[in-house]
């Protein structure tokens, strides 16, 4: 199963923020859009990093006026990205072992979406469940 099978199932509503915007803007956007992470993009739309709820909480515990800080201060700029052609299984491994909950999807050097750990696990589980249901139906049929 490939990442593209997941992309077909999620709305690719891209929520982005610029690096010079404040953490207050980031918090507002996260709340308003009901998402867990924002992709930080430069002027050209090129992804520069990702900022998650967790990054903001970490900053909040360190500084009192954290909301005034720029996004660039806390974002993760060492971005791991996926492509639609990537297999789902190794992506799950990476997300689990490196505690990553959101990954930007890049297709032909263009940012096209974000997949969350929920998206990949849901696809993986429903794939397995489908096989279980199919096998179960066949066994029931044999017993009839």
């Amino acid at each position: 199963m490939k990442i593209e099978s997941i992309l077909a199932t999620i709305t690719l509503r891209l929520i982005t923020i610029r690096p010079d915007q404040s953490l207050q803007d980031a918090v507002d956007l996260l709340a308003e859009q009901n998402v867990g992470a924002l992709i930080v993009v430069g002027e050209s739309g090129r992804p520069l990093g990702i900022i998650s709820e967790r990054d903001i909480v970490r900053e909040a515990s360190r500084s009192e006026d954290f909301l005034a800080q720029p996004v660039s201060r806390v974002m993760t700029s060492d971005l791991i990205t996926v492509s639609p052609e990537d297999d789902v299984e190794p992506v799950i491994q990476i997300m689990m072992t490196r505690h990553i909950r959101h990954l930007p999807v890049i297709d032909q050097q263009r940012l096209i979406g974000v997949v969350s750990i929920r998206d990949v696990l849901k696809a993986h589980v429903s794939n397995i469940q489908g096989e279980v249901d199919t096998l179960q139906a066949q066994i029931m049929e044999e017993q009839l």
Binding site: I3, A8, S83, D87, V91, N127, G130, D133
Partner: protein, 466 residues
């Protein structure tokens, strides 16, 4: 306003398509306690069951037996079938919106992807879907012809469809005789001269998409033997490391099966299936007359992406494989339905968890839903559609509760029936299908087959006295 979903005012639902996703959705709707739902299922063909009838290989009887479950669902008194009725031809989305509270699209993914290499226009090259539709008696493919006088056939891709095509090409007349394959295909395949079938995979044994039962089945055919090149059965360092790290026993088993094939001695069966790994067709070579004669293959090696996937990369090593027939099976996509928002990039209806989304407002289109391959793309097995349809139906139920449904001006079942009769007087009701089903079974019985399919719509009509 009187509430919808009661005896006096049942929830009226139109389901477009009649494959697994359509029937699983119907089943989940009928299961709701306290909800009175009336389901009208519209199908482009006179016959129901989508890919279970027209896609699942004819020698896979057990998989096809799921139709018994579907047939039971169809016996519900509030279920109606409109076969031979096509959305966009006989009825439109606005028509449906005038007659139903909710509409569910479950039309599947019918078209295949191209390979995008030179020579794809040559004679002898076919989408695997065409061949599958042809041998399964799908009326759209009855007139297709395949040059089975060729000695060597190549199949690009190693998903389960590719494996089905390879197996069907290698069945003996005796093996073919007991299947419910279309008569024209059974006859043509019984005379086939194809001796060699080459399955071509871009990546290595550990990344092959086929399942273990499918590849094992390919090794147990009556008059065909399977072989894998020993050097291609060996795992490269990256695959070995990934397999160890993931502790994926299914894939380990798959690799072991393939390595077993690599060390098999030939026993002199009539046909040979070669499963090739780490090769990509880069050009299809034709004769002066435009007939495919060979496939130019680049030898690949694997590299690891940042996300851990092992991807193929062409090396400068090239080989030429002689083949006069080629089937491509490199992915499928859905087709847009007239008047329904579509995500062209992924070949699915634009949706969120099954609710159709308006591309402009990014908000759900009231009353319209989708499920199955047209919702999520072509992934998973038949059973995967169950959970998928349950998710969509749960959205439908939530919206019914919140009152976010269509308010049709003509919800009476007789009104829709009248409209269908007017636009498509030759439509097939469920009773018509049951009649046809019985005739097909009877016609097959005499020769020891589960059924003898009708493959032309006019013959189906004639059979039931139209």
């Amino acid at each position: 306003m009187q509430s919808v979903g009661t005896d006096a005012n049942p929830l009226r639902v139109a389901i477009i398509g009649s494959g697994p996703a359509a029937f699983y959705a119907a089943s989940h709707l009928f299961k709701q306690e306290g909800l009175q739902a009336e389901l009208d299922m519209f199908e482009r063909l006179p016959t129901p069951y989508g890919l279970v009838r027209a896609g699942v290989a004819p020698d896979h009887y057990k998989i096809k037996s799921v139709t018994r479950v579907f047939s039971k669902i169809a016996s519900h008194p509030r279920f109606r079938f409109y076969g031979s009725v096509e959305l966009g031809k006989h009825i439109s989305v606005p028509d449906l919106r005038e007659h139903y509270h909710q509409i569910l699209y479950a039309t599947g993914a019918q078209t295949d992807r191209q390979m995008g290499i030179p020579g794809e226009e040559l004679t002898g090259i076919h989408p695997a879907t065409e061949f599958v539709g042809w041998y399964n008696g799908h009326p759209d493919y009855g007139d297709c012809t395949f040059d089975l006088s060729q000695r060597s056939a190549a199949i690009v891709g190693v998903g389960n469809v590719a494996i089905d095509v390879a197996r069907i090409l290698c069945l003996t007349p005796d093996e073919l005789a007991v299947t419910d394959m279309a008569g024209h295909a059974r006859e043509a395949l019984s005379q086939s001269s194809v001796q060699e079938v080459h399955l071509l995979a871009r990546r290595g044994p550990a990344q092959a998409a086929f399942t273990n039962p499918e590849i094992k089945e390919l090794g147990n055919l009556a008059d065909a033997e399977i072989s894998v090149l020993p050097e291609e059965a060996q795992l490269d360092d990256l695959s070995r490391a990934a397999l160890t790290a993931e502790d994926d026993q299914t894939t380990q088993r798959k690799v072991a099966i393939l390595q077993g094939y690599a060390s098999r001695k030939r026993v002199g069966k009539r046909r040979q299936i070669y499963v090739r790994f780490l090769v990509s067709p880069i050009e299809l070579v034709g004769s002066a007359a435009g007939q495919l004669v060979s496939v130019r293959l680049a030898k690949n090696e694997l590299y690891q992406t940042e996300a851990g996937t092992l991807r193929p990369k062409a090396t400068d090593r090239v080989e030429e494989l002689s083949a006069g027939l080629l089937f491509r099976s490199v992915g499928y996509r859905g087709e847009a339905l007239p008047g329904v928002p579509f995500n062209d990039r992924w070949g699915v209806i634009l949706n969120e968890a099954g609710r159709v989304i308006d591309p402009v407002t990014q908000q759900p289109v009231v009353g319209e839903y989708c499920s199955g391959w047209i919702k999520r793309g072509p992934s998973g097995v038949i059973g995967t559609n169950k959970a998928d349809s349950v998710e969509s139906v749960n959205c439908m139920l939530e919206d019914l509760d919140s009152g976010s449904i269509l308010r049709p001006s003509e919800p009476e079942p007789s009104k829709m029936e009248g409209l269908v009769r007017e636009r498509q007087p030759n439509y097939f009701s469920w009773a018509n299908w049951q009649h046809l089903d019985e005739i097909e079974r009877r016609n097959g019985e005499a020769d020891g087959r589960s059924r003898e399919k009708f493959t032309r719509v006019k013959d189906m009509r004639a059979a039931i006295g139209r």
